[in-house]
């Protein structure tokens, strides 16, 4: 219903603003990836869309194609829409972004509509493989079952001395029927609603250091096979990212903590990654981990991954990547997909 309301709102304003007068820009992105599990049985490469590699060569788990339409009614007022198809979702078109943006001042803008939920460092461009050196952001950290929200946000971007700084405040909710990830984990149809989400994301960056701090809290409703199992349970998310660029050396890190205080649910996830640029080549190595605290219910989802890979910037807008991932799944009561080693190859592009 909220998605429908967002669409109605946007199209009403579009109608009023006479879109024929608007300046329209089109940008696209894509990742065509192929991979296989060489040891073990399955590798869950994309948690939110449940992209899974097995022992056969597969194109689907990481392949994504997307189009972004930016329509500028005036230099202050625009509409942003992003449509994507994912192999993991049977190439059904999905609207990831659909929002109106208005600049109140050169540094302050307000958005309303459907956006990516900015929990993680790479949330906003999770599907734009060209923007990072992995084939996909480390799955242990990006284990979100809800990746969008419908609502409003306020973005302030400024300069503080030698630092670029931004502050993003948002409020919204999202309903997901037959949620891909939860339905896979529970082995039954799960409807998930995240509501009254209120969040803040702050970033500071200079020539060599980038800091990001994020916090979100809200309420969860969950139904398994139509039966309500969680109702108005509070959830809290806290994340910190610290990235360094020392000439050719890149050090990326992200640490997240998630809690449902009333349900005694808590997990911690992190990634730390090193990359080194040698001309057009960027070899990299990453360690990521997800660790859930054992509760009275016996939840013990625990897994970690070591990844090594190489990115080759072939031309300005095309990158070729190869990556090896070794997953150790320590979950006994809640195993995800077991131990595995896999190899994948991808071509990422933007236009």
């Amino acid at each position: 219903m909220q998605k429908l309301l967002s669409v109605v709102l946007v199209f009403t304003i579009l109608f009023i603003c006479k879109p024929s007068l608007a300046e329209i820009k089109l940008n696209g992105f894509g990742s065509v990836a192929i991979g296989t599990v060489v040891e073990g049985e399955e590798f869950l490469a994309d948690y939110p869309k449940t992209g899974i590699y097995n022992n056969d060569l597969s194109l689907d788990p990481d392949t994504t194609l997307g189009l972004q339409l930016s329509s500028y009614f005036t230099d202050k007022f625009s509409l942003i829409a992003q449509l994507a198809v994912h192999g993991a979702s049977d190439y059904d078109p999905e609207i990831d972004w659909l929002y109106l943006n208005y600049y109140l001042t050169p540094e302050l803008s307000v958005q309303a509509g459907r956006k990516r939920l900015p929990l993680y460092y790479y949330s906003d461009y999770f599907d734009v493989g060209y923007a990072y050196y992995w084939i996909r952001p480390p799955p242990d950290v990006y284990t979100w079952q809800i990746s969008n929200y419908n609502g409003a946000s306020l973005l302030y971007e400024t300069a503080l001395g030698q630092w670029d700084a931004s502050l993003n405040l948002y409020y919204g909710s999202e309903e997901s029927e037959d949620n891909d990830l939860l339905s896979l984990l529970f082995g039954a149809s799960v409807d998930e609603t995240w509501k009254n989400m209120i969040g803040i994301v702050g970033t500071m960056s200079n020539n060599w250091l980038e800091l990001r701090l994020t916090h979100m809290q809200g309420l969860i409703d969950r139904k398994i096979s139509g039966v309500s199992v969680i109702n108005d349970i509070e959830q809290q998310f806290l994340g910190v990212s610290v990235n360094f660029t020392f000439d050719s050396l890149l050090i990326l890190s992200e640490f997240n903590n998630y809690r449902q205080p009333e349900n005694d649910v808590e997990y911690n996830a992190y990634l730390i990654s090193f990359g080194y640029q040698i001309g057009d080549l960027t070899p990299h190595i990453t360690r990521s981990s997800f660790r859930q605290e054992i509760t009275a219910l016996g939840n013990d989802e625990r897994h970690y991954t070591t990844s090594v890979g190489l990115r080759w910037d072939v031309v300005d807008n095309i990158a070729v990547k190869v990556q090896y991932d070794n997953v150790v799944d320590e979950g006994v009561i809640v195993p995800v997909k077991g131990d595995s080693s896999s190899i994948s190859l991808a071509v990422d592009f933007v236009f």
Binding site: K25, F29, Q68, N101, Y103, E107, Y125, V128, A159, D316
Partner: protein, 157 residues
């Protein structure tokens, strides 16, 4: 307090002063060559852009709106000289070409920021700037002098 200036001072300084003026003349004569290597920020004549900090230029070339002046419109990347482009990224943007390109891609797909226009020919840049008042770009000073209806907003380095 009395300050005594030796009478012979002007006479004794005559030769060094003469030398000083000769050196200054030489410097003045080679100044145009130095100026040719300057890199300047340009806009169309009549844009009204009077001052913009390097910090703000960096903002604009990252796809953000100018905080210094409402008159600054959009940036244009000048690729007619690869070395100049790389120096601009190093001196103003403080990043490598790959890092800059990825940063722009992130902004495009995160904020819906418009793609930054790139031109490879000076006459194309000239035409674009004169038909898009308020757009800014960077060129060598000698190139700016040859362009029609273009003014230098600022010497970058």
């Amino acid at each position: 307090m009395n300050i005594h200036i030796p009478v012979q001072f002007p006479r004794s300084c005559k030769y060094p002063v003469f030398l000083f003026f000769i050196v200054m003349l030489i410097i003045a004569s080679i100044k145009p060559c130095y100026a040719d290597n300057k890199v300047v920020l340009i806009a169309a004549k009549g844009s009204g852009i009077e001052s913009i900090s390097n910090r703000d230029i960096r903002r604009v070339f990252l796809g953000l709106k100018s905080a210094d002046s409402d008159l600054v419109n959009k940036p244009v990347i000048n690729l007619y000289n690869r070395e100049l482009y790389e120096d601009f990224l190093k001196n103003i943007m403080h990043m490598t070409e790959g890092a800059y390109r990825r940063k722009i891609v992130k902004r495009i797909f995160r904020n819906g920021t418009e793609e930054i226009k790139e031109v490879k020919m000076l006459n194309e840049l000239n035409t674009h700037l004169t038909s898009n008042i308020g757009d800014i770009s960077f060129v060598y000073n000698d190139a700016a002098e040859k362009m029609q209806d273009i003014e230098v907003v600022k010497v970058l380095w």
